[in-house]
Symmetry: C2
Subunit: 207 residues, 2 copies
DNA sequence: GTCTATAATTAGATAGAC
DNA sequence: GTCTATCTAATTATAGAC
């Protein structure tokens, strides 16, 4: 049946182009931060001209939001897939395994650390948007997964949260420092597992 | 007695000017990161013209090194003053108090976090210079102050170090996120003390 | 030692051809 | 939908007056 088309031009592979641009933006914003990342470099990596960016994203700010949506979408997907497979042995061990999975996710996607830190030290419109749109829901999930067990007291929840986030992700966020200082390369599999164990046992001591 | 002057022009208040420039540079590099910080803004805050910067510092890179020297000098001074006053009760409590002091120092100087993170995710000439010049000696001090007690095993030293650094400093480095997410302002005195206690007890459980 | 002026490059955003 | 060309503003670094 012939329906009326609301989309005038069928957009042949525009979605793919848009996706490539967003992918390049994630890399650039993670590597350089919002201000130092350049739209020309993003376009170059995506294999398009700089003028095209403003067709898909009216401003650098909107491109940044799209990149942020992308990277936090990756996080949600990773967490959903991994948490579903947790068996419920005893609650402490379940919480420890959730923490290990969180460490592995941070190791595999160091872009998170960069996005969060790049915005987090300020308190502007982007910071508020990031927290309200993505971080609040992530916080809720971490509470479900036993963050209170690590905090022990309700009023220590913020301290437990940011201690966990910092302990879990810092080593991957400053991997250059770690390599130069200790000789340990935190991108290697054994290092990731060792860190996951260390942080899990730190936050929720066994025994 | 009339000695020969090696300094042709006595530099009336050049040292003070230089110090103001470095102070402004610390702020700018911490706030924006190396690339996004602008020398014009630094000059404006220091109350001089941009052309003068290259008289005192031939390049942006050398200005960054001077700013880094300044901020790590502050760290060394703070640590030296505080560690000297630690009484040696039992070794565990001494290590916990050292950790509390470290947390307080990070809270009072969030610029550290920014300098370390801004360079640490790369592995370039500035990263190597920063680690070799300033971070290695800081690492040695932390080992002295009982870092091995937190690590428990020699081979976990890197994990203990970066867990401690992350747990201690992250909340202050992303204070905007923390405020928006939890309502807790980590710049306040009570919050700093609560975090110091939490991290100290986390790294070295009492009892 | 400090400032003024400017060169050379690059930034984000816009207009219009196709 | 994509590209080319261009505008305006900001960047670091340099040259030279005082």
């Amino acid at each position: 049946m012939a329906t009326t088309r609301t989309r005038r031009t069928p957009a042949p592979h525009a979605d793919a182009t848009r996706a490539r641009i967003v992918g390049a933006a994630v890399k650039a914003f993670a590597e350089k931060g919002f201000e130092a990342a350049s739209t020309r470099e993003i376009a170059r990596v995506a294999g398009v001209e700089q003028g095209l960016l403003t067709y898909h994203f009216p401003s650098k700010d909107e491109l940044w939001r799209a990149a942020t949506d992308r990277i936090f979408g990756v996080l949600r997907k990773a967490v959903a897939g991994r948490v579903a497979s947790l068996d419920d042995a005893d609650p402490s061990e379940r919480s420890r395994e959730a923490i290990r999975e969180y460490v592995r996710t941070m190791a595999g996607n160091p872009e998170f650390f960069r996005f969060i830190v790049d915005q987090g030290h300020r308190y502007d419109a982007r910071t508020r948007w990031l927290v309200d749109t993505h971080i609040k829901s992530a916080f809720a999930i971490m509470k479900e997964l036993g963050l209170l067990r690590a905090a022990r007291r309700e009023e220590d929840l913020p301290h437990a949260l940011f201690s966990l986030l910092g302990a879990a992700s810092f080593i991957f966020g400053v991997q250059g420092n770690c390599r130069r200082l200790t000789g340990l390369d935190p991108r290697k599999r054994e290092a990731i597992e060792a860190h996951a164990d260390f942080v899990a046992n730190l936050m929720i001591p066994p025994g």
